[in-house]
Structures are given as C-alpha cells and as structure tokens.
Homo-oligomer: 430 residues x 2
C-alpha cells in the first residue's frame, strides 16, 4: 500500500512545524492575556444555517457541509464570529458586558489553493462586545499590533490601515448614490486592491452607470490624506470617531503604526463602522489581520442589541511573513537532560535517576533500549538536549557523575551530592 497523503489544503504538523505553530499561538495567548481578554471556544461544526443566516446561501460554496446521521445540516466552521455571536445571544443579559474574549479557532474554507491560503487554517479572534464607543476599536487595534510586535515585527514591517464604513456611506449619500446601492458598492470597492486602477475605474462606471459619478467615487477612494476627507465633511460623527481613534492610538504609543486608508472596506457585508487591516509594508502578502465593528450580528441571532467589534489574524500569512523576515525561532529541546549509560545492565538505575529529575520538574529522557554510546549521543542531539548525564561509567566508583554540556561541548565531573545544584546552575541560564 502506498502511504496515504493528508487531504488537499490541509497540513501535517511534524514536531518542527508544530513548534513554530506553538510559537505563534503562545505569542497570541500572552498578548491577549496582557490586554485582559479571556479565552473561549465553540464546536468545530455548527448548524449550516448559522452561516447562511449571516452571509446568504452563496457562502455554501466555500463551506465543508455535511449531514449527520439524523439529517441535520452541519458545516465545519469557516469563521468564529457567528459562533461567538450565537453564544453571546444565548446568554442574553446574564453575560456581563463588556465581553472581552479571544479564541484560536481551527477553521475550514473550501477555496482555490493559492499563496497564503489553505483549506484548513488557524486564526486568532479577539472581540469586545457591549461597547459602542470607538475606544473598543482602538483597544482591538492595539492588541492586533502587539501580537505582531511580540513576534518581533515592528512598524518597518507592517502598518494598520483604518477606515470607516459609515464615513464612506456618508460620502456616497452626499453624492446621491441610492442607499440600496451602497452595500453592493462596498463589495465592489473591496476588489480595488486586486485590480489595476483603470480596470477598477471601468467597473465602477459600469456599476454606477454614470461616468462623472464614478470619477467622484474614484477620487474619494484615492484621497491621499485624512485631512482631505475631513475637509469634505468636518462635522460628521464618523470623522469625529476617526479623530478620537487616532488620538487614543497615540496614548497607546502606537500612532506610528496607524494610517488612514479610505480604500479599506473589508469584503464581509456585516461590518457597520470602523474597519481596519494590518498589511506588510511591501504589500506582497495578503492582509495579515483585519477587523471592524459589527453592531448588528448578535441581534441577527435573536440576542439583544449588542454593539460589537473584533478582528482576526490567520496563521498562514503570518508564518510567511516571519519566515521572510528570518525570525523563526529554533525548535526547542525535546528533553533538557539526556541520561546516557555505559552499562547495559543498569536500566533500573537510569529510570530512578530520570524519575528523580522529572519529579524536580526537569524534562528528561534516556534510551529505552540498549544501544552503543555513540548512538546514544546521536539520540541526545536529535532530542536537542542541553546536557547529557553519563551513568554506569568509571566515575561512579568515586561517587562522581560525568556531565556534558551539549551547547558548549564542555565535559565535567560533579560529585553525586551536588548533581542537582550543578544542573540547576547549568539549566537556569538557558
């Protein structure tokens, strides 16, 4: 039999890839906890209508759907927000607001395979529910930035592009674009970055059926600064929100990261206010993270009206960026301590020593079968052990133990009495 492969669009995580994944996850966790967010999770599949309710039947094309044996229509989750909104709706007023939740869901989208996209992937999701003010949006942008800073990236590597759907809507209404055209227009605008400028402008003309109007929309979308927009509409509440947001970001110490970019609309139809995307400075990857305000989703699932904002960042694009920057950490030790033996008859003694070390909290392994000392040393290297303790040798007769530091290559003897203190010294500064 030929060895079967993992399904298309999925990944095996051998320990080396797994430790890179864990490096990213642990950075996400640490940052969210520092910001006072608590973790939640939901089932990995949901009733299909949870997704069609939010995104229309159209979404089914991208879903892994199936029926269970009682003919319930289910779908693997393509995103976390519907589950979050469902859970918040279910608890109603019993759930203390603001909700400050994060999750690291595994997600599934049946998509064409391309760079930065897989069918099974992970995201960090961070959400605040119960705060209508732009302060929540600012707090979320700060978390998003700090997850990347914690991984070693800074404002030479990425920036946050912020816009407001309300602001765009206001500007479009001023141009007398009918209200019902605005949602489809947003979906069109979301394609802007993927199209050459002239092609995009042509599509605008076709959509608006008015060349002059298309030019005006195009000019707004190409506004070079926030000031140009403020000048059009200085007293608008959306402009005020954005001004407040930029001021607060300054107090987070993050003003350098944030830039106004009216071209950001985010494809998903459910956003209602501020929207933002984190992008690499070279702009040769997909967005690293994206989010915004979605004030109407909880009530869509039968919950009480709950203002909400959140963002998501995926592991695939992020991993590409970290690799491109060369900031992938070394794979950690499988065992800090490897116990080798010169004596094939002392297995029980080795086990007792390992047990004593493990009880003290050290990670430790030893050969489970009799193999020559040369092979034992290869095994210690494969385990990326920091030190090797040699048992069953001549030194034991004088109550000494030989230790090799695998990082420096240095070998030394310690008396049996001082083994634990010497090990503690060696391993504490690593």
């Amino acid at each position: 039999m030929q060895t079967p492969l993992p399904p298309k669009g999925t990944r095996d995580f051998y320990p080396e890839e797994m430790s890179f994944r864990e490096h990213i996850f642990s950075s996400w966790e640490k940052t969210c906890q520092r910001y006072g967010f608590e973790k939640f999770d939901a089932p990995i599949f949901e009733h299909l209508d949870l997704y069609t309710k939010k995104s229309g039947e159209e979404i089914e094309k991208q879903l892994y759907t199936f029926e269970d044996k009682s003919n319930r229509k289910l779908s693997l989750r393509p995103e976390m927000t519907p589950s979050l909104a469902r859970m918040v709706a279910a608890k109603g007023p019993a759930l203390k607001k603001p909700v400050r939740w994060y999750s690291i869901p595994r997600l599934f989208r049946y998509e064409k395979m391309q760079k930065g996209r897989l069918r099974e992937f992970f995201q960090l999701n961070v959400d605040i529910l119960g705060v209508k003010e732009v302060t929540a949006d600012a707090e979320l942008i700060a978390v998003a930035i700090d997850t990347l800073r914690d991984l070693g990236l800074d404002n030479n590597d990425f920036s946050v592009h912020v816009s407001s759907r309300n602001l765009l809507e206001e500007l479009f209404l001023q141009l007398s674009i009918p209200k019902e055209s605005i949602k489809p227009l947003f979906l069109l605008l979301d394609k802007q970055q993927k199209l050459p400028k002239d092609v995009f402008k042509k599509e605008l003309e076709i959509f608006l059926k008015d060349q002059r109007l298309a030019t005006k929309v195009f000019d707004i979308l190409n506004a070079q600064s926030f000031d140009e927009i403020v000048a059009i509409n200085p007293s608008s509440p959306s402009v005020k929100d954005l001004q407040n947001l930029f001021t607060v970001m300054d107090h987070y110490g993050l003003a350098d990261y944030v830039t106004f970019d009216i071209g950001i609309v985010r494809g998903l139809a459910y956003y209602t206010g501020i929207v933002f995307e984190l992008m690499d400075k070279n702009r040769d990857l997909r967005a690293i993270a994206g989010g915004g305000r979605y004030d109407r989703l909880v009530s869509l699932y039968g919950g009480e009206d709950t203002p909400a904002a959140g963002f998501a960042t995926g592991d695939v694009v992020l991993a590409e960026l970290l690799k491109a920057k060369g900031i992938v950490p070394d794979q950690p030790s499988r065992s800090d301590i490897f116990i080798a033996t010169f004596n094939r008859e002392n297995y029980n003694q080795v086990v007792s020593l390992a047990n004593a070390l493990r009880q003290r909290g050290y990670s430790c392994e030893f050969p489970l079968r009799p193999i020559p000392i040369g092979k034992q040393m290869k095994l210690a290297s494969a385990a990326r052990s920091k030190v090797v303790i040699f048992t069953g040798g001549q030194e034991e007769k004088e109550d000494n133990i030989k230790i090799k530091d695998m990082r420096s290559g240095e070998e030394f003897l310690v008396s049996k009495d001082e083994l634990y203190t010497k090990l503690a010294d060696r391993l504490s500064n690593s």
Copy 2:
C-alpha cells in the same frame, strides 16, 4: 429568531469552562514535556479509507463522513493513531527513532449520547515508535499516571490495570482454541465488564461451542493474581515481559499504581502486546485512559515495520472525576490589574498607564466607556482582578495613587514613583 443551539453532542466553552479545559490541557502538556515528548498534529479530517483500512467498513457508522466538492470521501477524525501512523509511514527511515510524540486532538464520534460520552471531545495521545521492548510500555504507563497525579489525583483515586494480549493468546492456544478464533474472542472478552458474569459466561459458551472450554477460559479470566498465571506458564515471553514491566514500574516509584488484570483486552482489534487501562477506584466511570502496543499499524499504511505503543486519555471522563473529587481550580483572573477612574475626562491618561503596565508584562484592563465608580468596581470583580488602581482622584494632586487589593479588601496609597515596585510586591506572591 430563536437563538440557535450548538449541534447535539458538542459543547460551547464559555471562559469558565474554557479555563477548566485549559487547566487539564496544560497539565497534559507539562507532563509530556517533562517526560521528553514533543507535540505534533494532523488535519482534523482525513481520507475515509484511513479509518476503514484499520477498522473495517463497520467503523463508518461511528464517523462523521462527508464528500468535498471534488467528491473525495473524507471523515472527521475519530481517533489520532491512524494519522500518527500515516505520518510516521510517510517519513520512513528519515524519521529518527524512537519517535516520542504527543498530541491533544479534537475528535469526533457519532455515538449514542451517554454519561462520559460526547460526539466532540478531546484526548491526550502519547506514543513511542521504534522500541519493541516493554520498557516503552512502562514509560507510557508512567506518563499516563503522572498526568493524573499532576491534576491532584493519586492511588486512592485510580489504578492502572495491565494485561497482555500475547499472554492471553498463548493461554488460549494452549487450550487448543484455533488461532483464527482468537481475534473475535478478544472482541467478546472486551464486553466482559459490561455484562453480568453469568450472561458473559453464556456468551462464551455460545461462541466456543464447548461448555468445558468456556469454563476454562472463564477461570483464566477470573484469575485473582499474576502468580496464578505465572504458574500456568512460567517461561513464556509474555510473562517475562509483564515481570519486567512490574519491576521497572517500581523504579519509576509507581508500583503502587499498577495491578495485573487479565480481564483487560481493549476492544480495538489492532493491539498486539501489553494493554492497559486506567480506572477510577470506585469503578463508576468509564476508563480514564487506555492503551497498548500496536506493532503492525505503520506497515499497514505502507511504512516500514515499526514497533509502537501508545495510550489515549479523554477530557470528558477526566473532568467528571475531577469534579467528583472537588479539585476544579478557581477561574483565573481575566486582568490582574483594573484601572478605575474618578474623572471621565482622563481616558487618555488611563490608556497611557495601561500601556505602561502591559509593556511591563502585567495583564491589565480599564473601562472602555464612562461609567460610575460603583459599576467600575463591579467590572473589576467580574474580571477577577487582584488589584484596582484609582486614577483621577484627589490623591493625584499630591502625586499619590490609591490602590485596592481586591483579595484582602485593603486600600492604601503609594507615591507615583514607587507604583511599579509596590505592584510587583503585591502581585508576585499570588
């Protein structure tokens, strides 16, 4: 719209349940790392034939199967071992042995709902591949025991029941039971614990078509001690393996946990040697963990012959046991520090302070909108914060800051200069 429910047999993890799940997972992780195991993962769905190949078409009844849009037959994973064996087979000799891997997979089985069973659940899986000696089995049993000890359980709470399929097979062959009957007989024996003794004996008689033979098998299965079995067959290799296993467990300091129990066979047909189950002492729960040797699985998937052993332990039964014992930890703080304010105009100052605290690694939150001080204190309680820092009050005029320790109720003033040292003192011993 009525708020939708999670699908049958699945769970929502609100932060409280999530922190209990994380408590269990982190104990699993810590123990495996201490024993020198490294983490891996695989896709959450696999090609269906990965499972039918190992367990027969019969298994499909228990699977969540579906077709993707290219008509690939896929299944959510019901267990991790097939993915593990596939990954080991794929790497062949390039993968250094022994493989010492663990994983915490999310798994899915379409089963009748009952106590200790859900359709979506988690397991810890720990495996050693490349070691044919019983020392690997002993190492795994030690890990299994220590995951439970790390959670606060001891030998008053559970014990490890060990047997050997080879030993049983030897004994049955001595009784002239034909070789081809032995696998089906194992499947029957696995039902023993679920049936009254006389019903089980009747089923044995029907299966063996021989009342005297059935009595002999029944007597073997009811042997009270390992010595009785040794007496039947003192020089058998399986007996030697078990004797070695018990000796090694003594050197792990775990002899008190391990008991010989010939009645353990484990339902799955692929086990080939030592098998074991961890059971609560009251025996009113399902097995907490179970495992054994499966030397032929890697070659079944086209890999080279690779001796292997492993065990799995699930979160559902374990959580029940911890709850029954009352050893569920308190939900941790969402934020160690809560910044309250008496002044609705100083939001930016609060953000700056939060930023400084977070940069120092503290977890910290503050009200994102103007609310009265009483509500702020309720929010601090909801966040289970350890201390509240008050800003915008009278004290600030004298360059002091008021702090409340929420655990003791104590309030005190510190000068602005000593804020960070005082906080470090307060929060280090908690």
